[in-house]
C-alpha cells in the first residue's frame, strides 16, 4: 500500500485501557494478580454467579482520581457506575460495569515532547470499569475455554481528544501516559501482560479542512509501536480511498500487527447498542473536595515536568533528562547528588545512566537496594573531575560503591587506586616502557605519532591503571622529541 498522500493530515484519538495495580479486584476481594493458574483467582462475585453483588473497591477510585489529577482533569464529585450490556463468553454477567455519561475525571490535558517540541493533547475523560476474562484456544482441547482470573481486574479508560496529528505523536503520547501511570504507582505498565491496551481512532482530512471526516476505530492494538504502524496503515488506506473518490465509512476494524493490515469488524449500521443504564447494585460515588485535594498534594512531580525542569535547571540534554525522570528513585538520587554542588550535574547523570545502571543490571539490583548514596557518588565524580582518580579507576570505584558501604576515598585507598601524577614516579615507568618498545619508538620518530596512544596505554598497564594519562603522554612526548 502506498504511503500517506501529502495533501492529507492524520487525526488520531486514543482510548487507553490501563489495569490498575490495586491489591484486590474492583468488585470483590479476589487478588488482582497476573499469571496465576487458570480460574484460581476468581470467586462467585467476579464470575457473576446468580445472586451475587458487586461492592466497589475504594482504592480504585483513589487510583483513578490520582491519574485524573496528573492529567489535569476536573474530578467529578458525584459520579455513578453504569452497565454496558453485551454478550461474550469472557463476560460472565453479560454486562460490564463501567461509567457512561458521568466519568470520574474529565476535561484534562497532557504535555509531552515530540522531537524536542512540547505538544499538548486534551484528555476527554478518565473512567473506571472492570476487565473481562480471557478466552483460551488450544490444541489440547476442542472449542474455547474461559479463564475468569482477569474478570473484575480494575481498569481505567483514558480517552484523548482527537488532537494527535501523527503516528509519532501517538507513540510519544502513549509513552508519556505509561510513564505517568507507572510513576503514580497506579499501574505496573507491563505491556506484555496486557496492563496497557489501546483502541486507536483514525481519520484523515485535506490539510486546511475544517471539521473531521468519519473515523475508524481499530481494536487489538497491543504495543505502542504497533499503534504507530496501525495509524500509518489506516491513514494511508483512508487517503487512498479518498483519492479514488470514495468516502470512508464509520467502522470498527481489527488490527493485525503480524500482517501489518486491518480487517473490517463492523460498520456503523451494525454498531453495537450497549443499552447503558445506571448500575442499580452500586451506590453513587461521592468524592469530596478534601479527598481530592489530599490526593493532589500527595502527587509527585510528573516525569514530563521533571524532564523539562532538568533541561532548564541542570542544562541536561533532553535524552538524559528524560531517562533520569523515567524512574522516580533515580531522579531523586540525581537531584540530591547534584544539589551537593561537588561536581557537574551532567557528569553525575552520565555515571547514573551509564556505569551505575550497567552494574546494577549485572548485579540484578535496584538503585535503592544498593549501598551507593548521592553523597558517595558525587564525591567520586568530583575526585574524577579533579584528577585524583582515572576514568578506569572510577569504574572500579563505582562498582565497589554499590555493595561495599565504603566511601569513594576509602575504596581508593583500600584498592590503591589514587592516580599518580608525580613526574618522578612516572618518568621511570616511561623509560622502562620506551626501552621495551623499540619498534613503536622508531615508528613515532619516523612521524607516525599516533603510536603515542599505544605507548600511553603500555605505561598505564605498567602503572596498574594509576598513572595520570595526561602526565604520562607529556613525558613520552618530551623523551621522544
Amino acid at each position: 500500500m502506498p504511503g500517506l498522500n501529502e495533501k492529507y493530515e492524520i487525526i488520531v484519538g486514543l482510548e487507553v485501557h490501563a489495569e490498575l495495580s490495586t491489591e484486590t479486584k474492583i468488585y470483590c476481594a479476589c487478588k488482582n494478580s497476573f499469571g496465576a493458574e487458570v480460574n484460581t483467582q476468581c470467586c462467585e462475585i467476579c464470575t457473576g454467579l446468580p445472586g451475587t453483588l458487586p461492592t466497589l473497591n475504594e482504592k480504585v477510585v483513589e487510583y483513578a482520581v490520582r491519574m485524573g489529577l496528573a492529567a489535569n482533569c476536573k474530578i467529578n464529585n458525584i459520579t455513578k457506575q453504569d452497565r454496558k450490556n453485551y454478550f461474550y463468553p469472557d463476560l460472565p454477567k453479560a454486562y460490564q460495569i463501567s461509567q457512561y455519561d458521568v466519568p470520574l475525571c474529565q476535561n484534562g490535558w497532557l504535555d509531552f515532547l515530540v522531537d524536542g517540541e512540547e505538544r499538548r493533547v486534551g484528555i476527554t475523560r478518565i473512567h473506571i470499569e472492570e476487565d473481562a476474562g480471557k478466552l483460551l484456544h488450544g490444541e489440547s482441547f476442542s472449542g474455547s475455554l474461559v479463564d475468569f482470573n482477569r474478570c473484575g481486574v480494575p481498569l481505567i479508560e483514558i480517552v484523548s481528544e482527537p488532537d494527535i496529528r501523527s503516528s509519532k505523536e501517538a507513540k510519544a503520547y502513549l509513552e508519556t501516559l505509561k510513564q505517568i501511570l507507572v510513576y503514580l504507582g497506579v499501574s505496573d505498565g507491563k505491556m506484555q501482560e496486557g496492563s496497557i491496551r489501546c483502541d486507536v481512532n483514525v481519520s484523515v482530512r485535506l490539510k486546511g479542512q475544517e471539521g473531521f471526516n468519519n473515523r475508524v476505530e481499530m481494536k487489538n492494538v497491543n504495543t505502542f509501536s504497533g499503534a504507530a504502524r496501525a495509524i500509518d496503515y489506516e491513514a494511508a488506506r483512508q487517503s487512498a480511498l479518498m483519492e479514488a473518490g470514495e468516502t470512508v465509512g464509520q467502522e470498527t476494524r481489527r488490527w493485525d500487527d503480524v500482517k501489518g493490515e486491518n480487517i473490517l469488524l463492523r460498520s456503523k449500521e451494525n454498531a453495537m447498542d450497549y443499552r447503558y443504564f445506571p448500575e442499580p447494585d452500586l451506590k453513587t460515588i461521592v468524592v469530596d473536595d478534601s479527598f481530592v485535594s489530599a490526593l493532589k498534594e500527595g502527587l509527585p512531580e510528573l516525569p514530563n515536568r521533571k524532564t523539562a525542569r532538568y533541561m532548564r535547571e541542570y542544562g541536561l540534554p533532553a535524552y538524559d533528562a528524560g531517562l533520569l525522570a523515567e524512574s522516580m528513585d533515580r531522579a531523586a538520587f540525581f537531584e540530591r547528588a547534584a544539589a551537593l554542588g561537588l561536581c557537574q550535574p551532567k557528569n553525575i547523570s552520565n555515571w547514573l545512566l551509564g556505569d551505575i545502571t550497567y552494574f546494577l543490571r549485572e548485579k540484578k539490583m535496584e538503585l535503592s537496594e544498593s549501598a551507593v548514596t548521592p553523597e558517595k557518588l558525587a564525591d567520586m565524580v568530583s575526585r574524577l573531575e579533579k584528577g585524583e582518580i582515572s576514568g578506569a579507576a572510577a569504574k572500579i570505584v563505582a562498582e565497589a560503591l554499590l555493595d561495599s558501604g565504603l566511601s569513594a576515598g576509602e575504596i581508593i585507598s583500600e584498592k590503591g587506586l589514587a592516580q599518580v601524577s608525580d613526574r618522578d614516579a612516572l618518568e621511570s615507568i616511561v623509560d622502562a616502557v620506551l626501552a621495551d618498545s623499540e619498534k613503536a619508538v622508531i615508528q613515532y620518530k619516523s612521524g607516525k605519532t599516533n603510536v603515542l596512544g599505544f605507548l600511553v596505554g603500555q605505561c598505564m598497564k605498567r602503572s596498574k591503571g594509576k598513572g595520570n594519562p595526561a602526565v604520562l603522554s607529556g613525558i613520552i612526548a618530551e623523551r621522544l622529541k
Binding site: 462467585e44 454467579l49 446468580p50 445472586g51 463468553p89 454477567k93 453479560a94 442499580p280 447494585d281
Partner: protein, 486 residues
C-alpha cells in the same frame, strides 16, 4: 392440635419450655408436607435430611443449656430464587434447572446461625415474574383455601405452604408485590421491608433496584421475629443500609392506637377494586377508627402511572440481570447449535418461559438507543414523582392503608391469556417498591367464596416497627381468621 398448626412464637415457647423438641416440630412439618403437598405443590425441593440435622443440633444445644436465638428449632421454607449452598436453586426456570449454588445468600447464613431448619425450596413464578405462580417451569402451586385457585405470585409456594401448615415461616422476595399479593390470596402476614434493610446478596436478581427479601408468617408477631433475624447492613450488598435495627418482636404489643394517624388514599379504592375487597378493607379501617386511630383521607395522584413505570424499570433491569443465563457457564445449554450466537439464541429460547422472554424483550427495548429517553428515563422520572408524593403523604400520616390486591385469588388459567390483566393485580403493591417503602399484608377477612382478603399497610422508610405493631394490634381486633381446610 398438631405441632404444625401452631405459630412460630407458640412453638418457640413450647420448645423452650421443654414441651416439644425441635426435631418433633420439624417432623410434624415434614409429615404435613407429606400429606398436603399432593394438593398444594408448594415445594420444588424438600430438604428433609438437612432440616432434621439442624433440628437435632438445636435440640443438642438446648439440652446442653446453651442460650439459643428465639427462632432456633423453628423450621422455614425458602423461595427458590434465594441461593442455598449445595441445594438446587432453580428460580423455577428450565434454564437454572440444574443450578446448585456454591455459596449461601446472606439471609441463609443468618437462618443457619439461628439454627432454623430449612425444610426446602418453594415454588415461584419463573425468576419471580408473575402474579399467580403459574409461570413456574416445574409445577403449579394451589391455593389452600380453594385448590382450583392460584396462590398468587410470585412467591406462591411460600404463601401456600404457610397457609397449608407445611411451614410456619418462609422467606420470599418482593419486586412489585410478590410477597404481599400471595400473602393476601393465602391469608398470611407478608412483609416487604424497606429497600436496603435486608441484604439482597444471594437473591437471584429480577430488578435490582426494586427487589427485596421479606417474610411470610401466620401472624404479625411471627413476621416480626423472622424479620429481626434477617435485617441489617451487609458488607456484601452496597445498597443495604447501616442503622440500628431493633428487636421487632420484643415490644410488639406496645402500641397506642389513639396515637395512630392512618392515611387512606382515595386512588386505591377506585372502580378497579372488587367491591367485597373494598368493603372488607373499609371495615378494618373503621375498626381501627373505633379504637382511637385518626383516619385521614389522602391523595397520591400519580398512582395511575405507577404500573407502567414499574414494568418499564423492572423489565429494563431484568433484561440486563438475566443476560448472564447464556448457556456458557452453568444452567441449560441447547444440545444443538451452529456457532456461539446460535448457542446463545437456542439456549435462551429453549431455557426461558414466555413471560420471562416477554419481559426481557420489553426491557431491552426500553433501554435501546433512541427509546431510552421516552421509556426508561421517563419511568425513572415518574418513580421520583411517586416517591415525593409518598414523602409528603407521610407528613400527615404514620401509615397508609390500602387493599393489597384488587381481588381475591382467581382461578388457575383465568388470567394467563392476558398479561395486562395479570399485571393489574399488582396495582396496589408496585408503588411501594417504586418508592422503596416497607409494605405489609395483613388478612382482614374472607370474601363470599371463603377466600382471604388482604389489607396493606405502607409506612415511611424503616417504619417496619410501626407496621408490625399496627398489624399485631389489628389482629387482636379482628380475631382468628378461619383456616384453610384441606
Amino acid at each position: 392440635m398438631e405441632l404444625y398448626e401452631y405459630t412460630a412464637a407458640e412453638l418457640s415457647a413450647m420448645f423452650r419450655a421443654g414441651e416439644c423438641s425441635a426435631e418433633e416440630i420439624t417432623r410434624s412439618a415434614l409429615d404435613r408436607i407429606n400429606t398436603a403437598e399432593d394438593k398444594i405443590q408448594a415445594f420444588l425441593t424438600v430438604t428433609e435430611e438437612n432440616a432434621l440435622e439442624t433440628a437435632k443440633s438445636a435440640d443438642k444445644k438446648f439440652s446442653a443449656g446453651e442460650t439459643l436465638p428465639p427462632l432456633a428449632g423453628i423450621p422455614i421454607g425458602i423461595k427458590d430464587n434465594i441461593c442455598t449452598n449445595g441445594i438446587l436453586t432453580t428460580c423455577a426456570s428450565k434454564i437454572l434447572g440444574n443450578f446448585i449454588p456454591p455459596y449461601d445468600a446472606t439471609v441463609i447464613k443468618k437462618i443457619k446461625t439461628h439454627y432454623m431448619p430449612i425444610l426446602g425450596k418453594m415454588n415461584l413464578d419463573e425468576f419471580a415474574m408473575g402474579s399467580s405462580c403459574e409461570n413456574s417451569y416445574f409445577k403449579k402451586t394451589r391455593n389452600p383455601y380453594d385448590t382450583e385457585r392460584v396462590p398468587g405470585g410470585s412467591s406462591g409456594g411460600c404463601a401456600a405452604a404457610v397457609s397449608a401448615g407445611e411451614v410456619p415461616l418462609a422467606l420470599g422476595s418482593d419486586t412489585g408485590g410478590s410477597i404481599r399479593q400471595p400473602a393476601s390470596y393465602c391469608g398470611n402476614v407478608g412483609l416487604k421491608p424497606t429497600y436496603g434493610s435486608v441484604s439482597r446478596y444471594g437473591l437471584v436478581a429480577f430488578a435490582s433496584s426494586l427487589d427485596q427479601i421479606g417474610v411470610f408468617a401466620k401472624t404479625a408477631e411471627d413476621a416480626a421475629l423472622l424479620y429481626s433475624v434477617i435485617c441489617g447492613k451487609d458488607e456484601k450488598d452496597a445498597t443495604s443500609v447501616r442503622r440500628e435495627y431493633p428487636d421487632f418482636a420484643a415490644d410488639i404489643s406496645n402500641f397506642d392506637c389513639k396515637k395512630l394517624r392512618a392515611g387512606v388514599p382515595k386512588e386505591y379504592f377506585g372502580p378497579g377494586i372488587d367491591g367485597e375487597v373494598r368493603d372488607s378493607v373499609y371495615k378494618a379501617i373503621e375498626l381501627l377508627k373505633e379504637n382511637g386511630a385518626e383516619i385521614r383521607e389522602i391523595s397520591l395522584p400519580s398512582t395511575d402511572y405507577a404500573l407502567s413505570a414499574y414494568y418499564i424499570i423492572a423489565c429494563a433491569e431484568a433484561s440486563s440481570n438475566l443476560a448472564r443465563f447464556d448457556g456458557v457457564k452453568y444452567g441449560y445449554r441447547s444440545e444443538k447449535f451452529e456457532n456461539l450466537i446460535d448457542m446463545y439464541e437456542r439456549s435462551r429460547s429453549e431455557g426461558f418461559g414466555d413471560e420471562v422472554k416477554r419481559r426481557i424483550m420489553l426491557g431491552a427495548f426500553v433501554l435501546s438507543s433512541g427509546y431510552i429517553d421516552a421509556y426508561y428515563n421517563k419511568a425513572k422520572a415518574t418513580q421520583a414523582l411517586i416517591s415525593r408524593e409518598f414523602a409528603s403523604a407521610f407528613e400527615q400520616a404514620d401509615l397508609i392503608i390500602t387493599p393489597t390486591s384488587p381481588t381475591t385469588a382467581f382461578k388457575l388459567g383465568e388470567k394467563t391469556a392476558d398479561p395486562l390483566q395479570m399485571y393489574a393485580s399488582d396495582i396496589c403493591t408496585v408503588t411501594v417498591n417504586i418508592a422503596g417503602l416497607p409494605g405489609l399484608n395483613v388478612p382482614c377477612g374472607l370474601d363470599g367464596k371463603g377466600l382471604p382478603i388482604g389489607m396493606q399497610f405502607v409506612g415511611p422508610h424503616f417504619s417496619e416497627e410501626i407496621l408490625l405493631k399496627a398489624a399485631h394490634f389489628y389482629e387482636s381486633l379482628r380475631g382468628e381468621l378461619p383456616r384453610a381446610l384441606l
